[in-house]
Amino acid sequence: MTAPNMQPSSATAPAIGLPLKYFLTGAFFYLFANFLVLIEADLLAQALFPALQVKALTHSLTLGFITMLIMGASYQLVPVILETKIWSERLGNIQYYIFTIGVVALICGFYFGLPAELAASTLFLCTAVAIFVTNILMTAKKAGTSNLTARYLKTGLFYLVTAVTLGTILAINIFTGYDISDTQRLLKAHVITAMLGFILMTLIGVSLKLIPMFALSHVKIGRTAEITYYLLNGAVVVLFFGLLMSIPVLVALGGATAFAALFTYFYQMYLSHAKRKRRNMDIGIRHSVSGVIHLIIGMVLGAGILFGWAAKPAHYTAFAYFSLFGFVAIFIVGQMHKIVPFLVWFAKYADKVGLEPVPNMVEMVDKRLGEISFWLLNAGTLLTGIGILIGNVELIRMSAALLLIGSVAFGANMLMIVRR
């Protein structure tokens, strides 16, 4: 069997500047989010997650880092997965500026309590998300093919739109002062749609493709991954309605379904891990694997919330913290140790292969900075989470300082790769 008609990846790859601007800006917001953890340690210790400053901190991470990264990575990886060029790189570039303005305005609006800025930010964010979704869907339509990874990504986009819509309603509610009878229900639905529907759906979809590829594990993405997909969708939908309409039995069912989805995902990852031919884990994979450990801690807390033995605000705050700062953020940091060198290698060295010695992608990452970010981000996250659970502001401050140094090391590593 000769190779199927594989498009040269150089023919479909976007210009390096497009994904790179998202990655570097995202890295900055990650550092900023960790800075906010440090200066708002007292609010976290009191588990005052409704506080506007905590909302600013949360959205620095979820929008400024996580969503920014997902957007940039999508512009890089979707052409690889679908073997077709992005529908419009120009729109992707325009979107970046609109999205960044929206994120900055939202963070300022929350942090300084500025309802008008908050409402205005939603205009920018909605526009940026609309551009992004259109761009990715039109690219998928152009490709004409669909696989399970593409389905995960498209479904994630649907939940992104839903989450942003709910967020917009909540922000406008703050601005108008209109008293929707129970904004807490909308807020919970917004959180579930964003965290499980958009972020987790996208991360799982991408990791099912990338992790086996990096590990040289030729385990087929098959039935288990499909089961995960349907379970996760079921969980999001059931939790959405359960939280929105305050129906405890639906919330319990949705939570249990989410656990089932995660277990099937872990099983697929375990199969990949067991059959991998590449045993040595580079610093990027080590970061991502350590992120999963924080997810397990989050899941234990989630189980406690579900079954009622963890019902204090500190438990909810710690659950959100371990899930977002622990799993999602560190997982993405790990993947950035793979994606950014890939981008730079492709732009600078791809044409020199076979003509002169070129560095490989692992050599492009500074090992010492990688180790610093690995240990400090993990220790800092773990200790901050514990500090939140026990309400110890000094522990949170100390561990947040570790996080900040770790994120500086990470940011510096990324900059050094780009400047090669």
Binding site: A3, M213, R278, N360
Partner: protein, 99 residues
Amino acid sequence: MDEKEAILENLKGVEDPELGVNIVDLGMIYEVEIEGGEARIVMTLTTMGCPMHDAIVRGATKAAERVVGEGKAHVTLTFDPPWDPERMSNAAKNKLGTI
């Protein structure tokens, strides 16, 4: 050193950029033939859908052209048989931690 050996030696300078191991030691080269002054290479990739595939194939072509001349090296990509990690040299297995 004949031309075939020279090509293989040059192909050792082509690394999989993700794994940091050259494509000969990875066992990705299936055939190298010289016919009528032109080189024909049959090779595979460790993963179908590898995003680096054209950089690697182009690199292999250029490495061979340094022996037989520009435009006289032809690389065919195949997945039949698919890449087998057992084809890796011991040095490659050592580097990847497979042994």
